[in-house]
């Protein structure tokens, strides 16, 4: 079985300050981390690998200036990773990336399961998984909390309204994960050092492909254009309740009741 995990990176939120009034994001420390939802997808892939055996292949969800996320995936337990070199766009473009990834997956010889994040922390992209499923004609489970594979199908838990539901789809399929779904494991220190030093078997597990060899130049033309940016309005402040304990409880209950959907 081959599992494809699609991973991206995001500026570490601990290193940035958002100033809505100035309309700017100040970067104090330019460090990148794996997209949290993608990292859950990687964890799910490794859990499935441990349970039923699989080859886990990591691919990037955008044209990245470096291959750090793929190296991290290899250090964490992925078997193989392909860095796809292309012109990084100012704007993440799931439409273009879906075309590139489809070609890459075909070149890999297909897959049984594609896992990725249901959303990204910075741009809130959620189209990549659904687009791939649509193009491949595969079933998709969007926003999973867990996923396991048995008897040729994938079974996942996803949130549905106020509760959780089990859903099942035959393989091959696409599953996307919500951030925080699983507690991701840490990379293995020794694998991490080896993949960066380029020593041992693991160094050969990272390949580099060119996007222009995978798809036509037309397919790489961006589908999105950035016209400007605006910050959301400042949130309304809460209300401070006063009075006796009973009065406070009553007003709080009334306020909550007023918000209930009819």
């Amino acid at each position: 079985m081959r599992i494809i995990v699609i991973l991206g990176r995001v500026l570490d939120p601990r290193g940035i300050v958002v100033n809505p009034r100035a309309g700017r994001i100040f970067v104090n420390r330019e460090e990148y981390i794996l997209q949290p939802a993608d990292r859950c997808a990687l964890e799910a892939a490794l859990q499935i690998k441990e349970a039923v055996g699989a080859e886990v292949v990591a691919l990037p969800r955008a044209f990245l200036p470096d291959d750090d996320v793929l190296r991290q995936a290899l250090a964490t337990g992925a078997d193989r990773a392909v860095y796809i070199a292309g012109k990084p766009s100012a704007l993440p473009d799931d439409g273009v990336m879906a075309r590139v990834l489809l070609a890459a997956i075909e070149r890999l010889g297909g897959a049984d399961l594609i896992l990725t994040g249901a959303t990204t922390l910075d741009a809130g992209q959620g189209q990549l998984g659904p687009r791939l499923a649509e193009a491949l004609g595969w079933p998709q489970i969007v926003g999973a909390w867990t996923a396991e594979v048995a008897d040729g199908s994938v079974r996942a838990v996803r949130q549905d309204g106020g509760g959780y539901v089990w859903v099942e789809a035959p393989l091959p399929a696409v599953v996307t994960f919500v951030p925080g779904a699983l507690k991701p494991r840490y990379p293995d220190g020794r694998r991490l050092i080896n993949i960066y030093k380029g020593v041992g078997e693991i160094a050969a597990a990272l390949e580099r492909w060119e996007a222009k060899d995978l798809v036509t130049p037309e397919a790489l033309a961006p589908m999105l254009e950035r016209r400007g940016q605006e910050f959301p309005p400042e949130r309304e402040r809460g209300v401070r309740l006063t009075g006796s304990l009973e009065e406070i409880a009553r007003s709080a209950a009334d306020a909550l009741r007023a918000r209930l959907p009819r």
Binding site: E31, I33, D68, R71, Q72, A75, Y186, P187, D188, G189, R190, L192, I193, N194, Y196, K197
Partner: protein, 388 residues
């Protein structure tokens, strides 16, 4: 000259920082309050390979060199002095002796489980009459056929209360003293005759074990002699050189953290109608702290580079320890001053940092001993030999 960290060291730091902030920082206050040794954290550190950070991969290590080890200690020092002390005693001195002078067989048997964190190490040098005067050890080892019989004891042994393997310094020939009469042994703590006599109740680093150990007719096989018979003192001094450097790295992390806390507080706290950050008195304290920390950082990583490139570093390692511990103490002191009365309450982490910082000026060679090391090296260059 290139001051940038290699990509593998940058990746290593990212990994360690995430681990430290997720797994250690949330429990740091509890370790101190409950007087708890972070065994669980040690196990997890071992599982992802960090307890073998500087040891070769053939013995279960990571092979990230002394620079990697300094990064580990800096990041641990940032979030939890206790974890840093446990790890420092384990890797930096306990297991380090075996790494430096062990035979391939000893490394396979002892260094491998230590590097993986399956076993915990301690370093048995200090005795009640041999602290700074390390050559004055009295623990006796007598040869009996294929074994040595150890009698005596050690005090203030970090990790001593729960270590599985302790490297112990003992006198094998009283006539020769430190020059040929002291030998290092690898002692397994489940051997008959090994006893943990008591645990110290300390002001700081309360989440670490500081134990008094007693050896009564403790039998150690001859193959557990570390290095050559009579040359144990040299092995131990070499390990301490390494330990001193990484102690400086842990101080660097701790000082950087309190600087950040002080800056945050200066930004938030308003007095006389403006944030403390706008007061020159506070700005100068922050500037002094930051300057010293930056100087320490340059020193620590330069010495790490000397170690990794096989150059002499004894004198500079002593400077790392001396300067690092003092920079940390001054930084914590100034951070508390900026916080005012709140700084000494248990609601803020500075109170703990203040108690934890103090030991750094004492253990792994007091700062006075470091000055002796530095001065004797300098005077030697001018042909003057000074004795402590």
């Amino acid at each position: 000259m290139d001051f940038t960290f290699s990509p593998e060291h940058q990746a290593l730091r990212r990994m360690i920082r995430e681990f430290a902030e997720t797994e250690i920082a949330p429990v740091a206050a509890e370790l101190d309050r409950e007087h708890k040794v972070p065994r669980d954290i040690m196990r997890k550190l071992g599982e992802i390979g960090l307890l073998g950070v500087c040891f070769p991969q053939e013995y279960g290590g990571m092979g990230a060199g002394e620079t990697g080890y300094c990064i580990l200690m800096e990041e641990l020092g940032r979030v939890c002095a206790n974890t840093a002390v446990n790890v420092g005693a384990h890797i930096g001195i306990g297991a380090m002796c075996i790494h430096l002078d062990g035979t391939p067989e000893q490394k396979r048997k002892y260094l491998t489980p230590l590097a993986r964190g399956e076993k915990i190490a301690a370093f048995g040098l200090t005795e009640s009459n041999a602290g700074s005067d390390a050559a004055n050890v009295r623990t006796r080892a007598v040869r009996e056929g294929d074994s040595w019989i150890l009698d005596g004891g050690k005090v203030f042994i970090t990790n001593g209360g729960y270590a599985d393997i302790i490297t112990v310094l003992a006198v094998t020939d009283p006539a020769l003293g430190a020059r040929g009469g002291i030998t290092a042994f690898i002692v397994e703590t489940d051997s008959p005759g090994f006893k943990v006599a008591r645990e110290e109740d300390k002001m700081g680093i309360r989440g670490s074990s500081t134990a008094e150990l007693v050896f009564e007719e403790l039998r150690v096989p001859h193959e557990n002699v570390l290095g050559k018979v009579g040359e144990g003192f040299v092995t131990f001094m070499k390990s301490l050189d390494m330990g001193r450097l990484t102690l400086g790295a842990a101080c660097l992390g701790g000082a950087q953290k309190v600087l950040e806390q002080a800056v945050y507080w200066a930004k938030t706290r308003v007095q006389f109608g403006e944030a403390l950050a706008h007061k020159q008195a506070v700005q100068w304290m922050i500037a002094n702290m930051a300057t010293e920390i930056e100087a320490l950082r340059s020193l620590v990583y330069r010495v790490a580079w000397l170690v990794d490139t096989g150059q002499p570093f004894t004198q500079l390692a002593a400077m790392c320890k001396l300067y690092g511990s003092e920079v940390l103490s001054r930084a914590v002191d100034m951070a508390i001053q900026i916080h005012g009365g709140l700084g000494i309450t248990r609601d803020f982490p500075l109170e703990r940092a203040f108690r934890d910082a103090r030991i750094n000026e004492i253990f792994e060679g007091t700062n006075e001993v470091q000055r002796i090391v530095i001065a004797s090296n300098i005077f030697r260059e001018f042909g003057v030999r000074i004795r402590p």
